[in-house]
Symmetry: none
Subunit: 108 residues, 2 copies
DNA sequence: GCAAATTAATGATTTATTCAAG
DNA sequence: CTTGAATAAATCATTAATTTGC
């Protein structure tokens, strides 16, 4: 419960000193080592991502099968949205505009 | 997924004809233009760097607090790789074993 | 009820990848 | 181009839950 609370409040990859603290706190309840805390966060983070990915996956499969929509933005990790969406519409930003203008090597 | 596969296999700044090819391939799944592919690679490259920088940054913070090593000595420093952790049983991998011996920073 | 068998969850280890430094 | 370090992803191993046949 303590670890999940920490995870919920944003802890993902605690550094050595954080791990120290957490371990100290948990050791009240029984024998535990820093590596156990380390592994817990590794595994928990990975498995949360996995769950999210599965959810999105089935969602997009659904969309795909019903609407023939492309399933862009397949999964997003907490800190880094991975697949950007194709822009289907209008008005590129000035910067983008400039890039595309000065770069005929990247045609539409 | 396709783009990440390409990125993983080394594509970073595709040239015009590469972008053309990629765009053609992706257009199977929906509307997409060359600039979207171009931007994707720009952004993905940048964000991967960002992530790494964050990681290194927190690592440096840690070292500072524990060892007071200057940045440029860090990678050469003999002691103080931080993670992976000690194994307690059976034939640990050479890698982990070596690290755990030299890494007191996340003790049990 | 109650073990054996099966499935799910969790802990631990290995592998693959990323960027930057040399 | 190679190497080091961090760590995400995949996998292996073990423990907990659940199901099944009696």
């Amino acid at each position: 419960m303590i670890l999940e609370e920490m995870y919920r409040s944003g802890v993902r990859t605690p550094n050595a000193s954080q791990i120290q603290q957490i371990t100290a706190r948990l050791s009240y309840y029984g024998r535990i080592e820093g590596k156990n805390v380390f592994y817990w966060f590794q595994n928990h983070k990975a498995r949360e991502r996995q769950k999210l990915r599965r959810r999105l996956c089935s969602h997009y499969q659904l969309l795909y099968s019903t609407n023939s929509l492309p399933h862009h933005q397949f999964y997003c990790s907490q800190e880094a949205p991975v697949f950007p969406l194709p822009l289907h519409h209008a008005t590129p930003s000035p910067f983008l505009h400039q890039v595309s203008n000065s770069s005929p090597s990247v045609p539409s």
